[in-house]
C-alpha cells in the first residue's frame, strides 16, 4: 500500500509561497482604490430571492408543478370526464342554417327535443337531447302547456329495414299505406328489384312524410314491418327561429303600413319615389322572411322518415357477431387495442403541451440559476 507524504507537500508549498514577497504598497493601493469606489451595494435582489427565501422558491416550484399537472389533467378530464355521444342528426344552431353532425354533451333534463340513436342489432338505444337557443329563452314564466302548444319541432328519421324473400314489394306498399293512413304522403321512392336468375337482391329507399304528431307512430309501424337493423331519429326545436321570423315579419309589416301612410300624405314626386323605394325594400324583405317561415312551417308540420329497405341476403354493412368465445375474445382484444391507441392519440396533445410547458419552465429556471450563479461569482 502506498500513502502520500502530505506533510512534505505542505512544507514545500509553504516554502514556495514564502518566496513570494508581499510588496509594501499593495495594501495601500487597495485602500486607495476602495476610497474612490462606490460603497456597498448589498446582495443582489435575485440572489437574495433564490438563496435566502428558500420557502418562496419552493412555493414557486410547487406552483409551476401545479400548472404542469393542471395542464395535463384538465384536457384529459374534459375529453374523458364528460360523456360524449355522437349525434347523427342535425342540431339547430342559427337562423337558416342546419348544423353538421356534431358531438354534444348529454343533458339529462331536456324533455322536449332530442336524438334517438337505436341499433337494434346491438340492442342499443341512446337518447341524446339536442341543444337549442330557444330552450333557455322559454323561461320559467311560460307554462309548460303554452310552451308545448306553441312548440315547433322538426323531426327526421332513418330506418334500415330488412325483409324476407318475396316480401319486398308488399313491404313497400305497406310503408306507403302507413304514410297515407297517418295523413302523410310518399315524398320519393327509389328501388331496385332483384331476380333469382341474376342472383341479385331487391333494395330501395322510400321517403315518407307524415304530420309531426304521427311521426312516432309511423316509426313504430315501420320498425315492425320487417327486421329493423338501424333506427335513427332526431328532433330539433325550431320554435325560436319560428317566433323570430314571425316577429320580424310583423315588424316589417308595421313599417310598411307607416310608409303607406306617409306616401298617402306626400305630394311631391321625389318624396313619393323615395317612399316607394323604401316600400319595395321592405316588401322584398317580408317576402324573403315569409318564404323562410313557410319552409319552416312545412318542415315542422311534416316529419320525414327515410326507410332503406333491403331483402334478406343483401348485406348492408352487417355488424359482425362473434361466433364463439375465442372469436369474441379476439374481437374484444382488437377493440381494446384500438381503444388504447385512441387513448394514446388523445393524450398525446395535452402531454406534448405539458412537456413543452415543462421544458419552458426548466429553461427559465436554468436561465435564472445561471444568472444567479454568474452574479454570485461576480460578487465573489
Amino acid at each position: 500500500m502506498t500513502t502520500f507524504d502530505e506533510e512534505k507537500l505542505q512544507r514545500d508549498l509553504r516554502e514556495a509561497a514564502e518566496e513570494f514577497v508581499v510588496s509594501a504598497g499593495a495594501m495601500d493601493r487597495i485602500l486607495d482604490e476602495a476610497r474612490y469606489s462606490p460603497g456597498s451595494e448589498g446582495p443582489p435582489r435575485l440572489r437574495s430571492f433564490v438563496e435566502r427565501t428558500g420557502r418562496v422558491r419552493s412555493s414557486v416550484m410547487a406552483a409551476a408543478a401545479c400548472v404542469v399537472v393542471l395542464a395535463i389533467a384538465v384536457p384529459l378530464f374534459n375529453s374523458e370526464g364528460t360523456p360524449r355521444v355522437e349525434v347523427h342528426a342535425n342540431a339547430f344552431k342559427a337562423l337558416n342554417t342546419r348544423s353538421a353532425p356534431t358531438a354534444i354533451p348529454a343533458a339529462p333534463n331536456s324533455q322536449l327535443q332530442g336524438t334517438v340513436v337505436t341499433n337494434t342489432s346491438a340492442g342499443l338505444t341512446v337518447v341524446v337531447p339536442t341543444s337549442s337557443k330557444t330552450a333557455g329563452k322559454s323561461g320559467a314564466n311560460a307554462s309548460k302547456a303554452s310552451l308545448v302548444s306553441s312548440l315547433r319541432v322538426e323531426e327526421v328519421g332513418t330506418i334500415q329495414l330488412t325483409v324476407g324473400g318475396q316480401k319486398f314489394q308488399s313491404t313497400l306498399t305497406q310503408l306507403t299505406e302507413f304514410a297515407t293512413t297517418d295523413g302523410g304522403f310518399v315524398a320519393s321512392t327509389q328501388s331496385h328489384i332483384g331476380t333469382k336468375a341474376s342472383h341479385t337482391f331487391s333494395n330501395g329507399t322510400i321517403v315518407l312524410q307524415v304530420p309531426e304528431r304521427s311521426f312516432t307512430m309511423l316509426v313504430d309501424q315501420v320498425r315492425h314491418a320487417g327486421f329493423a337493423t338501424s333506427v335513427v331519429t332526431s328532433a330539433n326545436d325550431v320554435t325560436g327561429q319560428y317566433v323570430d321570423l314571425q316577429a320580424r315579419i310583423g315588424a316589417l309589416q308595421v313599417s310598411r303600413t307607416q310608409y303607406l301612410r306617409i306616401m298617402s300624405r306626400t305630394n311631391s314626386i321625389g318624396g313619393i319615389l323615395s317612399v316607394q323605394q323604401q316600400l319595395d325594400s321592405i316588401q322584398s324583405q317580408i317576402e324573403q322572411l315569409q318564404a323562410q317561415l313557410n319552409l319552416l312551417n312545412s318542415e315542422t308540420t311534416y316529419a320525414t322518415l327515410t326507410v332503406s329497405l333491403s331483402e334478406i341476403g343483401h348485406v348492408v354493412n352487417p355488424p359482425k357477431h362473434p361466433a364463439n368465445g375465442i372469436d369474441k375474445a379476439w374481437h374484444e382484444s382488437l377493440h381494446g387495442f384500438a381503444a388504447g391507441f385512441e387513448w394514446l392519440i388523445r393524450i398525446a396533445g395535452p402531454l406534448l403541451f405539458a412537456l413543452l410547458l415543462l421544458a419552458a419552465l426548466v429553461a427559465l429556471g436554468r436561465l435564472v440559476w445561471r444568472a444567479t450563479e454568474r452574479r454570485r461569482s461576480r460578487v465573489n
Partner: protein, 182 residues
C-alpha cells in the same frame, strides 16, 4: 463617515488576510502580477459586497472563496487570451516580460508540478496544503460537495506523485512510501 469606518474595516481585512490570499493566488495562478491583480480585485469586491457575508458565517472561507473565484475567472478568461495574443503577435510589453520573469522563478519543482496540474485540481491542493482548509471548507470555497473535494484531492495527489519533476528529485518532496500490509 461610514466610508471611513468601512475602509478601516478593509484595512483590518487586509492586514489579516492579504499575505495569505496573495500567496494562495500566486500558487494558483503561477505568477506574481496576476496574483496581485486577483487579490486586489478580490478584496475590493469583497468589501463592495460585504453585506452578502451572512452574519455568523466564517470570514476566512468566504474570503478564500472570493479569491478562488477571481483566480478562476482569470484562468478562464484573461490568461488564455493573453497567451494566445502573445504567441500570435509576440508583443514585448511589460506584462509579457513580467510573466517570463515569473516563469523563470518557477524553478521550484513543486511549483512546476503544481503548474502542470489542471486548475480545478491545483486549487484544491493549494487550499488544502497551503491554506490549510478542511475538506468541508474547501467544498464551501469552491461550491462543490465534500465528496467532490475528496476525489479531486485524490486525483491531484496521484498526479503529483507521478510528476517527473517530483520523482527525479532525491529525496523527493512528494514520494510514496511503501508500506507492507500487515
Amino acid at each position: 463617515m461610514s466610508d471611513a469606518v468601512d475602509v478601516d474595516e478593509l484595512r483590518m481585512w487586509l492586514e489579516d488576510g492579504y499575505a495569505s490570499s496573495v500567496r494562495t493566488a500566486y500558487l494558483i495562478l503561477g505568477n506574481r502580477p496576476d496574483a496581485e491583480d486577483a487579490v486586489q480585485e478580490s478584496f475590493l469586491r469583497a468589501w463592495k459586497f460585504r453585506d452578502s457575508l451572512v452574519t455568523g458565517s466564517s470570514f476566512k472561507p468566504w474570503l478564500y472563496r472570493v479569491v478562488v473565484n477571481t483566480c478562476n475567472s482569470k484562468l478562464r478568461k484573461e490568461i488564455p487570451h493573453r497567451h494566445r495574443r502573445r504567441s500570435d503577435d509576440e508583443l514585448d510589453d511589460v506584462a509579457v516580460i513580467e510573466d517570463r520573469i515569473a516563469q523563470v522563478a518557477l524553478t521550484n519543482d513543486v511549483m512546476t508540478a503544481l503548474k502542470d496540474l489542471p486548475a480545478h485540481l491545483r486549487i484544491v491542493i493549494v487550499l488544502r496544503y497551503y491554506a490549510d482548509l478542511s475538506e468541508h471548507d474547501i467544498a464551501s470555497v469552491i461550491g462543490r460537495q465534500p465528496g467532490t473535494v475528496k476525489s479531486r484531492l485524490n486525483e491531484a495527489r496521484r498526479r503529483l506523485a507521478l510528476h517527473p519533476a517530483l520523482r527525479s528529485e532525491a529525496p523527493s518532496p512528494i514520494n510514496f512510501r511503501k508500506e507492507s500490509q500487515s
